[in-house]
């Protein structure tokens, strides 16, 4: 199954928004492939907008971590719009200390644009 994503550029920042509401083993590989494609084009400042996501499991979280590693030290992948439930999984696994987390896409884009 191909993960439905909306991708747009805002200056040097690429915003990747999930249109799926579940980020799990079913879509994890697709997500990594898409991030790999974006990074392969040289775009390393990525906002992952998770505002539509209501369920993430460790497969989904692992895919996001893998994607963060893909952007390397010359970029960043940050999270925008995490709801309370999704945020709870980041906190449970301490991944909220790995990723910069923003309430909105705009805040995330502004932060990466000025980095």
């Amino acid at each position: 199954m191909l993960m439905r994503l909306e991708i747009k550029k805002s200056g040097r920042v690429t915003v990747v928004k999930s249109l799926e509401n579940r980020m799990d083993a079913k879509v994890a590989v697709d997500f990594k492939t898409e991030i790999g494609r974006i990074v392969g084009k040289g775009d390393r400042w990525i906002v992952f907008d998770v505002s539509e996501i209501t369920f993430v499991d460790s497969s989904g979280l692992g895919a996001i971590v893998s994607s963060l590693k893909m952007v390397g030290k010359e970029g960043d992948l940050v999270i925008a719009g995490a709801g309370e439930t999704v945020l709870s999984l980041f906190k449970l696994t301490r991944m909220d200390r790995v990723f910069q987390m923003f309430a909105t896409e705009k805040e995330a884009v502004d932060a990466l644009a000025g980095s």
Binding site: R22, D24, V56, S59, V65, L68, K69, T85, L89, T93
Partner: protein
């Protein structure tokens, strides 16, 4: 509220979400928060995913059973398979340095999450049938 239900899916990761949705909906009927209901759903999904990947080696065509047993003070999920037994050992940890991105874990978090969220996590295996029991008290 008391009750039992058995859910069965094929060992196909594409169908696991159906278990998750069912668990989440059932959890809305017990006195736990929305976040707890979500985290319980995650635990059961993690257990089913592990069964498919490890007990059945990601091979389709095998049954994964989830028995849900609810009473007035707890809910228990028995995730059952007839595949390869899980190696059990010490309680899992998730230790990593958040500042060290390159070494952040990309997998192996499922059992840790289950132990953090559920009040009891028990594994048993007998006569070719493996059962992971997850219990939450409320």
């Amino acid at each position: 509220m008391n009750g039992k239900i058995k859910l069965i899916i094929d060992s196909d990761l594409s169908d696991v979400f159906l278990i998750g949705l069912s668990v989440n909906r059932i959890c809305l009927e017990i006195p736990v928060s929305e976040i707890d209901a979500y985290q319980i759903e995650v635990c059961v999904v993690e257990a089913v995913n592990n069964t498919i990947k490890h007990a059945y080696g990601s091979e389709k065509g095998h049954e994964v059973e989830v028995l849900i047993d609810m009473d007035v003070e707890s809910i228990t999920f028995h995730i059952c398979d007839t595949g390869k037994k899980m190696e059990t050992g010490k309680k899992p940890t998730l230790e990593f340095d958040p500042e060290d991105r390159e070494n952040c874990p990309e997998g192996g978090m499922g059992l840790f999450i289950m132990h953090q969220v559920m009040d009891e996590v028990k594994y048993s295996s007998s006569q070719g049938r493996n059962v992971l029991a997850l219990t939450k008290h409320f």
